[in-house]
């Protein structure tokens, strides 16, 4: 399954500055593992040491929050767009 992955600027620094790239995976868990293999350090941005996803990072599949689908087990299909979005606090 080739998935289109989109990340915002905070995470971009661990994926060679890309805002968009392709990765493989049939579920969100698999996708994250494969991205971590390619870009070590990625997992640390989105999950804690036990692998639990940070509660200030949301993951969207085709614009839908995975928390309201099936979490990390959410299945993926070729061509899906997965976005990783951490909270931003800036306003000043």
């Amino acid at each position: 399954m080739t998935i289109k992955v989109q990340v915002t600027s905070v995470i971009q620094k661990v994926v060679n500055g890309n805002s968009e790239f392709e990765a493989e995976g049939s579920t969100i868990s698999e996708l994250i593992e494969n991205i971590e293999d390619k870009y070590p350090g990625f997992l640390q941005q989105i999950a804690d040491d036990s692998g639990e996803l940070h509660r200030f990072v949301n993951i969207y599949v085709n614009d839908e929050d995975i928390r309201f689908i099936n979490g990390k087990d959410t299945p993926l299909n070729s061509g899906d767009v997965v976005a990783f979005l951490p909270a931003l606090s800036g306003g000043l």
Partner: protein, 375 residues
Amino acid sequence: MATIYIPTFFRQITAGNEYILVEGSNILESLESLSYLYPEMHDLIFDSDEQILRHVNIYINNHEIHELEGLDTLVNTEDQIAVIPALAGGAMTLSEENNGNQSALKPEEVMRYSRHIIMPQVGPQGQRKLRDAKVLVVGAGGLGGPVALYLALAGVGTIGITEFDVVDLSNLQRQILHQTADIDKPKLKSAKETLGLYNPHVEIIEHPMPLTSDNAMDIIPNYDIVVNGADNFATRYLVNDACYLAGKTLVDGAILLFDGQLTVYKPGYCCYRCLYPDPPPPGMVPSCAEAGVLGAITGIIGSMQATEVFKQILDIGEPMVNRLLLVDALTMQFREMKLRRDPACPLCGDNPTVKELIDYDAFCGSPPIEVLALN
């Protein structure tokens, strides 16, 4: 010879024309010339004694003619005349004028806001809603600046601003309310001065303190809508909780680097805690001071926040409720995500545990705001 501006609602008479070239050396002759070209216009401007109807104002180059020589005011080729009638239910109807109704729009307001008023989605009634609206802007910095500016320009009658910082040289790359001469001045003072120069009719209410759990419920309930321009997670959770508890709509925006986010939290729909149940640990997501921010992205997101406030006040269009807009200035791509109320949300979920404001510095593991301000 002069040009007469015809407001939209009269253009059915003037075959859709916005500007009509007329003959005449003074206002009276110009209006007679207009009536000659479009006979139906006559009775909309003149009464049976050939005097200007009392609910119609005539302007020349944005000056009401009674300030000048009335109908005898001379006109030249470059002059622009405008025929602006009061509208029923809107600006200064005759009966309202006779009753001394304070809520009528004054002629200066009608002209100032004419580009809004002529739009059917606004109209004089909408303009009065804007004037009667009270909006709180949290922060007078990157986002709060353009928000407050566009609200003031639009004639939002009461704008409260919470801000306790002073203007720093490094603010001037993006914070449009402050100028070089304002360095070391309280931002609130500088913001109020700037907004007053743009629109002296708007009341700016100063809240010269950080928003905290102790004061938020004294301030927020006094406003109709709150706009978030905070620069830290503790204030973001505080504003979110206080707005929900006070039943106020929160127009939220955030920026970092080349990224911007925009959404609207309306009680009963999703809130910030539904989106992000917990804040990141300190240092995990950098601030603009640490990582940088594109100056113009504050203008993009701030203008959009002002637009959402405008729509909320007028109750028009599709609000950004349950929608999160992501702006990437580097690719100039705009993406939209769906947001949902989380039934497990501790604030707005089915079994809420947050029923009053908490200690947000402890929640976010951040030092108290007062300490940050001194840095």
